[in-house]
Symmetry: C2
Subunit: 241 residues, 2 copies
């Protein structure tokens, strides 16, 4: 670990509270356009739950790369229909605004402090299925102090495709063994490790990805494991001091 | 200009003092390995002067993309020979250290303040022939507060190839007319304008690129023109207030 130069961070669930943020913004739209009694958290989970299957075509090569903005809008319309709300009855401007909630996800309370501390010693960069503009908007919205942003639209690929991890290492001029992925999800860390990266598991409440069958419970078999990003910072900075 | 979202910055000469920084580091090596009387500034200009011709093969497609680290090292060895210093007489470690001087270029005194002010209103990103890791290292070294970094190794192309400007706009999710290139060199702004971007000329002392036949004197025909990056910030923020 002493030659570690770069820390990559999963973002959705690991750095920002996607489920909570999306539920909050969905509630606004549902209040205006849905019958009473639809739970905004259930709606958000249903929307996010369509994410992984919708990416599958891109992973398998049957669909050309498109960004999360496009996938999310398709999935939002499908989710509205599943909740018996006709998408064409909702004004386009409101649909687009809710779809852009993904650009306004709130960081977990310790994310800015944790990344700031780690940035003093390492290069810090998000490694996300989000595209570059979405990641830049999240950083500006939440004050995330990345050294650079690497969106899914650079390799034109989604996790856990190996080129996501390998292209990120190539662009940051680092051998995979001198980079670490920090994430709250096993499947992501598994893929990073298969590409030769070090792995750090961060425990987060509410980080489960409703689109994945496997829950965010660590297998425990990682190079580093801690609660929250300040916990990761404590661990990583102590182990090098 | 009211829909302007993104400001791209040329870096070498515009944001950092490449000639001065390289001359200073070259002086250290020359003192140890060269006959007395070699002027470090002349050496630096000779080295930087090989840059543009060495990129030409990549622009024309006769050579696959390689980063500036590789081109600079080739050019450094050729420059040493041109000054009658045998490259293989210089320890590899010292050669590599001088070659890495490109990762330690000093910002002009107003660069951090100017970019910081502009960052409050716009997305700010370098758009340079430097690769991603070089740009990240420069930012960390000089405290340059970019929102993200777009290196030449993302489009695998060098200026003034149009894909450099167009891919940057695509990744930042912006129509070219809502982005502006800030640069101290006409040839760069000409190419950006041909791709539809707005253009801002910044006057810099000592920003001439010794590898280009044309000097850094503005044609005057740009969307914005000012002295230094604080001058650009004054102009851009006033015109939108």
């Amino acid at each position: 670990m002493k030659n570690l130069e770069v820390l990559f961070f999963d973002v959705l669930g690991t750095v920002v509270d996607w489920r909570g943020s999306i539920a909050k913004e969905a509630a606004t739209l549902l209040t205006r356009h849905a019958p009473a009694g639809i739970d905004a958290s259930a709606f958000a989970d249903a929307w996010v739950g369509r994410y992984d299957p919708s990416v599958e075509g891109i992973r398998s090569g049957t669909r050309p790369f498109v960004t999360l903005d496009e996938l999310n809008l398709e999935n939002l319309k499908d989710t509205l229909q599943a909740f018996d709300i006709a998408p064409d009855k909702v004004p386009q401007r409101e649909l687009q605004h809710l779809n852009r909630a993904w650009h306004r996800l709130q960081p977990w309370p310790d994310s800015v402090a944790g990344i700031s501390r780690l940035k003093e010693r390492f290069i810090v960069a998000p490694l996300s299925d989000g595209h570059t503009r979405l990641m830049v908007n999240l950083a500006k919205h939440g004050g995330l102090p990345w050294d650079t942003v690497l969106g899914a639209d650079i390799p034109r690929a989604y996790k856990p495709m190996p080129q996501v991890y390998l292209r990120a290492c190539e662009l940051l001029g680092v051998e995979p063994e001198n980079a670490m992925l920090i994430a709250a999800h096993d499947y992501d860390l598994d893929a990073a490790r298969a590409c030769g990266l070090k792995t750090g598991f961060v425990t987060r409440d509410n980080a489960n990805d409703p689109s994945k069958p496997v829950k965010a419970v660590s297998s425990g078999d990682w190079d580093c494991q801690a609660t929250g990003l300040l916990g990761i910072a404590d661990h990583m900075l102590k182990s090098r001091s």
